[in-house]
Symmetry: C2
Subunit: 191 residues, 2 copies
DNA sequence: CGGTCTCTTGACGGAGTTCAAAGCTAGTGG
DNA sequence: CCACTAGCTTTGAACTCCGTCAAGAGACCG
């Protein structure tokens, strides 16, 4: 829980009332590998802040294949943001890929925070700005890099993730099959 | 200019002081096809709101190929947001692809607006949320759709754009070559 | 030890790229 | 008004990367 408070304080000054309120709506949860937090089609009522472990959000296409939109590790937020912002049913699934600890927030209560403590707007703006930046980078990488180059970058951005999560999840994030990723990994070892 | 004021009023109530301030920092500009607004490597000081015409942002890769990150038509914002948010030199270029009208803002003055009129935070939050949603959709499309399906979707999202801008820009947005797009278009006509 | 999950391997096919050339189209100037 | 040019699109042939399908090899866990 302190992780989150520290993270907020790194961006905006936090009054003790605001801190108390945040603590009152935050709910710590321990999750096991495989737990599903959001399922496609459901109404999305929660957003999660990860303090330990790793989660991912993904969609399932018409052929039943999974495509990973996001991995969330320590200090990242995860949910189906499109569903929350547009008030639609989830089109994504969110699941736990290692045993994890998260802080759960009701999307509605989090929204109230902006009215009760307007200073949080600036915090959220920074979060969204960072999010946009990382999405822009990902799109540009997808447009200009080969699968092998994207994998190199992935390993730099998530230095330790790779030891804990299956390669087929990484493949589904990079936009290739697990077989192709396997071949890329073998090529890398040769060099 | 009224377009922008209307757009703001659609999201938040706008006091007359705030409106006056916005008008005082906004600068209307007419641009011709081919005008460059931002060049890679420069410090980015401006953000643009498009009221007429079409602009695009793109990067140039190590082989000299262009990759389009964004098209901006009426009511969209465009700039190198990564450069602005991270205070880095531009890694993108922004250029005018048809004769256009934009409202130009200094990034710094726009930032001041949040301090002077905190009610704008909610407006900006909505903008950023919408931006994140559209980027998520684009990434998922890139992961699960064929080039031809992505082109179909593109035509739906930008119904008229296609008549005014060269196909090779569309190809560079979709992540394919202009030759491939040409073949896709021919296949479509057959059906 | 047996089953399940994950990764690797091989053969083949297909979508998209590359390079090069030709065909269009619209604007420009003689 | 035509010829020329520049910008854009189409076409063809060869190639490459990656996907698909199917099978096998490890690894992990009850």
């Amino acid at each position: 829980m302190q992780d989150l408070i520290d993270k907020i304080k790194g961006v905006i000054p936090l009054t003790s009332e605001a801190e108390t309120h945040i603590l009152s709506i935050a709910k710590e949860r321990s999750l096991s590998k495989g737990n599903a937090l959001i399922l496609e089609g459901q109404t999305v009522r929660k957003t999660y802040f990860v303090t330990k472990g790793c989660l991912r959000s993904y969609c399932i296409d018409k052929d039943g294949k999974e495509h990973t939109l996001q991995f969330a590790i320590k200090d990242w937020w995860i949910s189906d943001f499109t569903a929350i912002y547009n008030h639609e049913p989830a089109s994504l699934n969110v699941e736990c890929i290692t045993d994890s600890h998260v802080i759960e927030f009701s999307a509605k209560e989090l929204d109230d925070v902006f009215r009760l403590f307007p200073e949080f707007e600036a915090f959220q703006r920074k979060n969204l700005e960072r999010h946009v930046v990382s999405l822009h980078k990902r799109i540009l990488n997808q447009l200009q890099l080969t699968a092998s180059e994207r994998y190199d970058l992935f390993l730099k951005q998530y230095p330790d993730i790779e030891r804990h999560i299956p390669n087929y999840h990484i493949a589904s994030f990079l936009g290739i099959t697990q077989q192709s990723l396997s071949r890329i990994r073998i090529e890398r070892v040769k060099k």
